[in-house]
């Protein structure tokens, strides 16, 4: 059951999106998340969705998987949509019953914002689905390296992130194992009220903490044994290289940005 967690899970593959330079991917997807808030009219939004769709197709991932990433934030989408439908008024009135007042403007706004949120989530999950955590932190370290001038220890931060990401699956597996072991001894983790459930977690959490500390100690020893002493003078096995396709992709983001701004200027806003 714990293995169902897919957020931040990497799905190996060899699609164009998988092979893209992670720095470019990071920048473009980060830019996309900002860009999604630029359009104020339906055409602009449509362009954003089309761009995302192209990305999904390029990634070669099954659509089912993409939709699964939306599931956790479904309540958020529903609540925002409802709030918009009920509280924003403008345009023609659709329903008028007692205090409920639904207008075309409200519905339009609701759909607009829901599409934005969905695109945002799909965009960011595209990044984690197609990039392995190690590559991702590697790219982050490279992109943040100018911060070294400000005496921020970029290497240490990215090493911590790598380690944290690396151990998420391990700890999930460990939790699963401990839960199985305690269930075997009759621990009831699935029923009872809130207090009972929290109490039932003690036999799982204590061994989990103990093992997390044990792993941390082992890892520290292992790193010291290999003479790890920070990032100074450390070379990389896998060098990152920008290829022509990476520049094309970067260019496409710039074009998207320009197109969205032009559309905003040319067309009237559809939002209220």
């Amino acid at each position: 059951m714990l293995t169902d967690i897919t957020i931040g899970q990497f799905f190996p593959g060899s699609s164009p999106l998988h092979r893209m330079d992670p720095r470019v991917k990071l920048v473009v997807i980060f830019a996309y998340i900002v860009l999604i808030f630029i359009p104020h009219n339906w055409w602009g939004l449509l362009l954003c969705v089309a761009y995302l769709l192209a990305g999904v197709l390029l990634s070669g991932l099954p659509f089912r998987l993409i939709f699964r990433s939306i599931k956790p934030i479904l309540p958020l989408i529903v609540i925002t949509t409802l709030l918009n439908v009920f509280y924003i008024s403008g345009g023609q009135t659709l329903v008028q019953w007692q205090f409920i007042h639904i207008t075309t403007g409200g519905v339009g706004n609701a759909v607009f914002i829901a599409v934005r949120i969905v695109a945002l989530i799909i965009g960011s999950s595209l990044l984690t689905y197609t990039t392995s955590p190690t590559t991702l932190t590697d790219a982050l370290e490279r992109l943040m390296s100018p911060l070294n001038l400000l005496h921020v220890n970029v290497h240490e931060i990215s090493m911590m992130m790598t380690i944290a990401l690396r151990f998420i699956p391990t700890l999930i597996e460990e939790t699963d194992k401990i839960m199985s072991a305690q269930k075997t001894r009759g621990a009831d983790l699935e029923s009872g009220g809130l207090v009972q459930r929290v109490k039932a977690l003690v036999p799982v959490l204590i061994p989990l903490f103990v093992s997390a500390f044990r792993r941390a100690c082992d890892l520290a020893t292992a790193m010291e044994c290999r003479c790890y002493r920070g990032g100074e003078g450390r070379t990389r096995m896998k060098q990152l290289h920008m290829r022509r396709s990476d520049f094309v992709f970067l260019g496409s983001a710039v074009v998207l940005c320009a197109a969205l701004i032009t559309l905003n200027i040319l067309l009237p806003s559809s939002l209220i």
């Binding site: 799905f11 998987l65 072991a181 075997t184 001894r185 009759g186 036999p203 103990v210």
Partner: protein
């Protein structure tokens, strides 16, 4: 009469994801009351998946697990009762200890069964005795014990529930030879005294050879062989093809016979080997 039985048991992990993997493929085996069965197979052969199916930790994709003839998933809500009857000791069980004292940790299972305090006390002391744990250690924190002692506390925690079927996944992993021998002897003694069925998952052919009466060999999620220990270890070729080996002593015996020394039957424990070889040595050998 089989106490525990599987019928066409199938298990597939990660259905409809890129990680889909068949771990069990139509497994049908039966375990009789009082059996001590060793389960062997190389990594990824489905041993662990199989034993986790047997006490309802995993739910089969298809097929059934029968405990005393009834499907354990007939009533999913009553699965806890199944787990009390089919006990399981995981690999590195010392990693699951959590209580302040060993006594409390061993009592965790019996307490969950809803037994009376006197009954729990009796069972904790009995289980501690089975695994050779000093009564003085019971009041200590499990985190202060040595690795071998922790392992014993964890095994006692499951034995205290007195399950009809006891499953142990690699109970000797990471122990020194003496600790290993003691635990294996205690497992046998537990079986003899309670007439329960014991399943022993192991990578060590020597452990299985000296402890088990029967051996179940798994390969790619299927049952490759299931027979008495002698019969299984006499098929050295088949085991070799499955990426497994016969015990070292058996290999020595096969080598001796290949050189024309008539050492008779195969031996698969050191004791048997000594018995078979002594007459030859007394005669001064046949060569």
């Amino acid at each position: 009469m089989n106490v525990l039985e599987t019928r066409d048991l199938c298990m597939t992990y990660g259905i409809k994801t890129p990680f889909e993997k068949t771990a069990l493929d139509h497994v049908s085996v039966g375990f009789e009351k009082g059996d001590l069965v060793g389960i062997i197979g190389h990594t990824g052969s489905g041993k662990s998946t199989l034993v986790q199916q047997l006490n309802g930790l995993l739910r089969p994709t298809a097929g059934q697990v029968l405990l005393d003839g009834t499907d354990i998933w007939a009533e999913p809500k009553a699965i806890r009762q199944v787990r009390f009857r089919v006990g399981m000791v995981f690999q590195y069980p010392e990693h699951q200890l959590f209580e302040e004292t060993c006594y409390k940790d061993i009592a965790f299972g019996p307490k969950n069964m809803g037994l009376s305090d006197e009954e729990i006390d009796a069972r904790v002391r009995q289980a501690a005795a089975y695994v050779g744990l000093q009564p003085t250690l019971l009041d200590k924190s499990p985190f202060d014990l040595s690795g071998g002692e922790k392992r014993r506390v964890a095994i006692a925690g499951v034995m205290a529930m007195q399950p009809e079927v006891l499953i142990l996944d690699e109970p000797t992993a990471g122990l020194d030879p003496k600790g290993r021998d003691t635990i294996l002897d205690q497992i046998r003694a537990y079986r003899d005294e309670n007439h329960s069925t014991v399943l022993l998952v192991s990578h060590s052919m020597e452990d299985v050879a000296r402890t088990a009466d029967k051996v179940l060999v798994m390969d790619h999620g299927r049952v490759a062989m299931y027979d008495t220990t002698e019969t299984v270890f006499s098929h050295a070729d088949t085991l070799g093809e499955l990426g497994l080996a016969v015990p070292a002593v058996t290999r020595v015996f096969m080598g001796l016979r290949a050189r024309g020394i008539p050492v008779g039957e195969n031996a698969y424990t050191v004791e048997q080997a000594a018995e078979a070889l002594l007459p030859h040595l007394r005669k001064g050998g046949d060569r």
